[in-house]
């Protein structure tokens, strides 16, 4: 006998292995070494979460009860995979181009980014999946119980409910750890997928091993096995046509509409080509999984005592024959099938719940502006973690309170029929442009209601939620509303009856609703993009006008994508528009791209709503609507090209205008600067002259007074010298003739020096400095004096200009690639957007008042120093104050070491 403790130990070791694999894969993916993680085989194996514990244990039980009918559950998916060119190819392409995060997101996005549909599908999915999760918990606990009941002394019999609770907790932990590590822009979870691929191999190997053991160990090969099947209770194939067709249809539909299958098929798909491999490899997997089911069932019926639960033959058969190692493998196989399903289902459902229920509620609670403070990413991740816990808790509660001894297959089919209600909206959405939001909502709600009435609620057993009279007589004794004989058509198998009526009424409502209602502009746009996904090269636009401020958009994106990613995105966009800095022109194309990026994180409806709050509502232009009509496509192509050209011209013109404005302003400022500089020179000169005249003329002056006046003259000359030094310094830097003194130093020491210099003596002000000293421990090769000068300038700028009541300055450093970024941001009112272009120019000052004796040269010197050091300094918008980013290379490039010649 296998000691129960050994079993638990093996189980824990196996879980530990899964943790390690998932962790290693996630680490690899983070560093960008995807390699085999993106192979078509991993994709194919990850699809095997279709085969849950229901397959692993339940198929044998199903075969022992109903013979060959169990294969229908695998024939449906086989047909779908084999027919990938029709449907899956389109589904995956749409999923990739629209950055779909779940099946609810797909439906919501197709029907005009309607959150109503997202909520409906999410609720349906949660209700439909809960029994399924309970089923997995049940099978794991039952298999534990098999081992426990075989113990010589029955004293260690574990509590089944406690086992289920432990399993559910462990699964929640695993899912939270690897499913919500980060808010990935495309929702892929490499760690989870890799662990699942491993589990897929384990469960296939386990079932094949038991099968081989049965066919070649207990029987004498295939021929003998066939003879045994002839002699068994299931020798006759009781083919019930209605069920046969219905089940093949149902399993095919469930394969694409189960939330977890959608997650691995579409969301986790990283390459469309993987579908081609999976189209035959996954049917092969299903083929192998089903191959030995009947032999195991037949042998179990023959060998084991009557009354043994056929759902557990896979486990009890090897145990009864003393093959304990094999039984252990079978146990791990069953464990794998259950856990992988629960993990992916929880991830898929939590994404749906957070994107379609929690986020919209949160957004509406936060009031009108999405750009307020607070990190949305934290909220989303937290929502997902909580939903994962809640979903597993629901599954556990269902397990506790349904309790009953239904066969595994029955619960699975109820789930299948529930999620299948998405089908009309899904297929219609992908292939019929006329499908509308109202039609989809009507179909979904009606189909779901019929399913609940005829299948889900009766499944709790008679007199649980429905009384026995209601089942036999119908509500209020209305005969044609009986749950198992709608419209008086009785005598059907309850499953066939429920699937037939729910799908039929669903489809009728969907089609009629679509035909009678009128789609909104956004729906028509999305519809055209989905249906013609292979024809449309560029996405049609849903945004027009540029009412939004780029800075507001940046503030919002930073909170969803993370500040580094958002800044990179904005910078790239600005560069592609031929501009520097972080703020691109707000073109409709840009908003469209931004929305798609955000969609990957929070779902289509939420992203659209958040952008809508800033951009001021989406609008669809006439041109966009024309794009919907195929008839004008060709004309449109041409006019589009013209339009693109004219847009480009307009942009160039705007750039020229910008440049011209900048030049004019510079010229004005130059004049101002000259008069300023004359003023600056004249003031000390005047006082020097006046005091020296007094000294010359008044011979009878006291020594103290003389000393006083000489002191004033001295101070004034120092001021003059400093001004002239700055000017000289700048011209040397600009000419690139500066001698750099490169040495290695620690960033922390440089910052320490700068702070000491700025906070000593009279210059000390009330500015509070926040540093993250640990992150500043970075070695670099540079001219430390020059770099220190840059920091001194920036810090003293903050001292002078930060106008907050209690001024603060934050210094953050991080290394990024071959360079180092130091951000210095204060909490003042920042620099207005129109001035951001100007501040680094040498004659520019934001205000005319000559505060603290500066002549508007500090930032210009900073810029020139950084250019000489091979880095840059730039203004960082959207940080809630004036913020500067200093970018220094770790080591100077060859050009910087010799002193750049081309620095302007």
């Amino acid at each position: 006998m296998v000691p129960f403790n050994l079993l638990v130990l093996v189980c824990l070791l196996y879980v530990l292995l899964l943790f390690l694999i998932a962790f290693a894969a996630a680490k690899r993916a983070e560093t960008g070494q995807l390699g085999w993680l993106r192979s078509p085989w991993v994709y194919t194996l990850s699809l095997s979460i279709y085969c849950t514990a229901w397959t692993f244990y339940g198929a044998v039980g199903y075969a022992a009860r109903s013979g060959l009918e169990y294969v229908t559950i695998y024939l449906g998916p086989t047909l779908v995979m084999v027919g990938w060119w029709w449907f899956l190819r389109k589904l995956v392409r749409v999923g990739r181009t629209q950055r779909v995060t779940s099946i609810a997101d797909l439906i919501s996005s197709r029907y005009g980014k309607s959150n109503l549909l997202g909520v409906i599908v999410t609720l349906m999915a949660v209700i439909g999946t809960t029994p399924y999760i309970a089923l997995q918990l049940k099978s794991v606990t039952l298999s534990f119980a098999v081992f426990a009941s075989n113990q010589p002394e029955g004293g260690t019999m574990p509590d089944l409910n406690a086992t289920a609770l432990w399993v559910a907790t462990g699964l929640a932990l695993f899912t939270v750890l690897f499913g919500t590590r980060n808010l990935d822009a495309n929702e892929r979870h490499h760690g989870v997928v890799t662990a699942i691929a491993l589990e897929a191999i384990v469960k296939l190997a386990a079932l094949l091993a038991v099968g081989v053991f049965v066919v070649w160990g207990l029987a004498e090969g295939p021929a003998d096995m066939l003879a045994r099947i002839d002699a068994s209770p299931v020798s006759g194939w009781d083919l019930r046509g209605g069920r046969w067709v219905t089940l093949i249809f149902l399993s095919a539909v469930a394969f694409i509409s189960l939330p977890r299958m959608f997650q691995v098929l579409v969301v986790e798909n990283s390459d469309e080509r993987h579908l081609a491999t999976a189209s035959w490899a996954f049917p092969l997997y299903l083929f192998l999984i089903s191959l030995f089911v009947v032999p195991i069932a037949v042998t179990g019926l023959a060998v084991l005592p009557a009354g043994t639960n056929p759902d557990l033959f896979v486990l009890t058969l090897p145990l009864s024959q003393g093959a304990e190692g094999l039984a252990m493998l079978a146990f791990l196989g069953g464990f794998s099938s259950a856990t992988s399903m629960v993990i992916v289902a929880a991830i898929a459902l939590s994404t749906m719940v957070s994107n379609h229920i929690v986020m919209p509620v949160w957004l509406s609670l936060r009031g009108s502006r999405a750009s307020m403070s607070g990190d949305v990413r934290g909220v989303v991740l937290q929502a997902r973690r909580l939903s994962i816990g809640a979903i597993l808790l629901l599954g556990y509660l269902y397990f506790r309170f349904s309790g009953g001894g239904e066969a595994l297959a029955a619960i699975g089919l109820i789930s299948f029929a529930g999620v299948a209600q998405v089908l009309p909206a899904l297929v219609g959405g992908l292939f019929w442009r006329g499908a509308t939001r109202n039609g989809a909502a009507a179909g979904l709600l009606l189909g779901f209601a019929v399913w609940a009435y005829t299948m889900f609620i009766p499944s709790f057993g008679e007199s649980a939620l429905m009384s026995a009279e209601l089942l036999t007589e119908g509500p209020f004794a209305i005969g044609w509303l009986r749950p198992h004989a709608l419209f008086g058509i009785g005598g059907l198998d309850p499953l066939v009856h429920a699937v037939f009526w729910s799908m039929t009424l669903n489809t009728i409502a969907f089609v009629t609703g679509s035909l009678l209602s009128f789609p909104g502009p956004m729906e028509r746009l999305q519809g055209a993009q989905f249906v013609n996904v292979f024809d449309h090269t560029g996405a049609a636009r849903g945004w027009s006008g540029g009412a939004a401020e780029a800075e507001d958009l940046l503030v919002m994106s930073q909170r969803i994508l993370g500040s580094k990613e958002a800044q990179a995105l904005f910078q790239a966009e600005a560069r592609s528009q031929g501009r520097g800095g972080y703020l691109p022109d707000v073109t409709p194309d840009f908003i469209e791209r931004l929305e798609r990026e955000l969609t990957g994180s929070v779902g289509a409806a939420t992203a659209h709503a958040m952008l809508g709050q800033i951009v001021g509502g989406s609008s669809v232009s006439v041109q966009d609507l024309m794009a919907v009509a195929d008839e004008t496509a060709q004309m449109l192509e041409y006019s589009n090209r013209l339009e693109a050209k004219s847009r480009e011209l307009a942009r160039t013109a705007r750039q020229l205008r910008d440049a011209n404005e900048k030049l004019t302003e510079l010229s004005v400022q130059k004049d101002a600067f000259l008069s300023q500089i004359s003023h600056e020179l004249r003031t000390p000169m005047t006082s020097i002259r006046a005091f020296s005249e007094i000294l010359l003329q008044d011979g009878a002056m006291s020594a103290a007074k003389q000393k006083d006046y000489a002191g004033i003259i001295h101070d004034e000359t120092i001021r003059l010298t400093r001004l002239l030094d700055d000017l000289l310094d700048l011209s040397v830097l600009e000419a690139g003739q500066v001698q750099l003194n490169i040495q290695s130093a620690n960033l922390r020491d440089i910052l320490d020096r700068a702070l000491v210099a700025t906070q000593s003596g009279e210059r000390a002000t009330g500015l509070r400095i926040f540093r993250d000293v640990a992150s500043e421990d970075i070695e670099l090769q540079t001219d430390t004096d020059r770099l220190c000068q840059v920091f001194i300038n920036l810090i003293s700028n903050a001292q002078k200009y930060c106008d907050a009541a209690s001024p603060e300055l934050r210094i953050r450093a991080r290394s990024s690639g071959d360079h180092l970024e130091v951000d210095l941001s204060d909490n003042g009112c920042g620099i207005p957007e129109k001035s951001q272009d100007m501040i680094f120019e040498k004659f520019s000052r934001l205000s005319d008042e000559a505060r603290a004796g500066g002549a508007g040269l500090g930032l210009a010197i900073c810029r020139e120093i950084m250019l000489n050091l091979g880095g840059r300094v730039e203004y960082l918008p959207g940080q809630g104050g004036a913020a500067f980013r200093v970018i220094v290379p770790f080591a100077p490039g060859p050009a910087a070491a010799q002193g750049p010649s081309g620095a302007s």
């Binding site: 779908v80 029709w86 822009a185 099947i229 002839d230 390459d271």
Partner: protein, 90 residues
């Protein structure tokens, strides 16, 4: 090499389109074959097993034969219309 030049110039393209047709027909053919047992209403389980698994395996083999060249086709179209470039961050 044949002596006469081929009538159709774009032979590879033509083959490929017929392959796509085959890929579309395959699931229908599979469904048809799996419905055949309804004609004779079941019979013995052993014959049923041989039939179902035989058809199933045949489908897998044909699907593999079709998928390999079509998968290569996806690669080239994917790069052409710029969809292939979506993998990397923009």
């Amino acid at each position: 090499m044949s002596r006469r030049s081929p009538i159709f110039l774009a032979r590879t393209g033509y083959r490929l389109r017929r392959l796509m047709d085959a890929a579309r027909i395959l699931p229908a053919a599979g469904a048809f074959l799996f419905m055949l047992p309804l004609l004779w209403g079941g019979g013995a389980t052993r014959n049923g097993i041989i039939f179902v698994f035989g058809v199933w395996f045949g489908l897998i083999v044909v699907a593999a034969l079709i998928a390999v060249p079509l998968g290569g086709q996806l690669r080239s179209t994917g790069d052409e219309d710029g969809q292939g470039g979506e993998d990397g961050p923009v």
